[in-house]
């Protein structure tokens, strides 16, 4: 299934990418997708491997690592927020 990924703030800037579309297995969770990104190595691994602090939103709703994504969903990944 196809998922749109969005990156914000430090992630967007470090990766030099603000969005992409990926193919992922049906039933994938946010954690699965983050792992697959970490597996790209380099800066991807640095940002997304292990106990990195990553917040996620699916279709603009806050999600957890265990949340499942559906075909056509937009998954946004970003560092802990720092507004206010």
């Amino acid at each position: 299934m196809k998922i749109s990924l969005l990156y914000f703030a430090r992630f967007r800037q470090c990766l030099g990418v603000d969005q992409e579309i990926i193919d992922t297995a049906a039933g994938s969770t946010v954690a699965d997708i983050i792992d697959s990104l970490a597996a790209r190595g380099g800066i991807w691994q640095e940002l997304f491997a292990g106990d990195a602090s990553v917040m996620a939103a699916i279709n603009e709703q806050m999600a957890t690592l265990a949340s499942a994504v559906q075909d056509g969903d937009t998954l946004a990944l970003f560092p802990p927020v720092t507004g206010g």
């Binding site: 969005l6 914000f8 703030a9 430090r10 967007r12 800037q13 602090s53 917040m55 939103a57 603009e60 806050m62 946004a76 970003f78 560092p79 802990p80 927020v81 720092t82 507004g83 206010g84």
Partner: protein
């Protein structure tokens, strides 16, 4: 209880403190207590020249509006205002304005404080500071997470 009036906004335009204050005080005879919080860009003794705020358009507006509505269910409030600026700002500029009106001061202080704590940890906004040392993304503070935990 009547429903509280909400006014939330994410904008690139400089925030007008007086307009926010006027709106909160316009609730004259009904509310007895107005609490307003302003968050400004700190110079940090010359370490910061400008600040850039990135957000997740669409989601940031929606989450901010939801938080204002949430806070209005926790205390008996007449008005809730939450404006947040995004884009590029200078030292002394207002980043965020949060205000509430209520019959009594305790509720007004708690509600304004709660709204700020939740905003700081839940609205998709990110600060980057620019100064003589170059640019740097601001790190989330544990203290802010702990402050927000009080209300969850």
């Amino acid at each position: 209880m009547d429903t509280a009036l909400l006014d939330t906004l994410i904008t690139q335009v400089p925030l007008d403190v007086q307009r926010a204050s006027d709106w909160l005080h316009a609730d004259a005879g009904a509310s007895g207590a107005v609490v307003m919080f302003s968050g400004l860009v700190r110079g940090e003794q010359g370490e910061v020249d400008t600040l850039t705020l990135e957000h997740y358009p669409g989601m940031s507006d929606r989450v901010l509006a939801e938080l204002a509505a949430d806070v209005a269910t926790r205390w008996p409030l007449q008005r809730v205002l939450a404006w947040h600026r995004v884009g590029s700002m200078s030292v002394g500029d207002v980043i965020v304005l949060v205000g509430v009106t209520a019959a009594h001061r305790q509720e007004a202080f708690l509600a304004a404080s709660c709204l700020m704590d939740l905003l700081k940890t839940q609205v998709p906004l990110w600060k980057k500071v620019n100064g003589p040392q170059g640019e740097q993304w601001v790190e989330a503070r544990d203290k802010d997470l702990q402050a927000a935990q009080r209300w969850l």
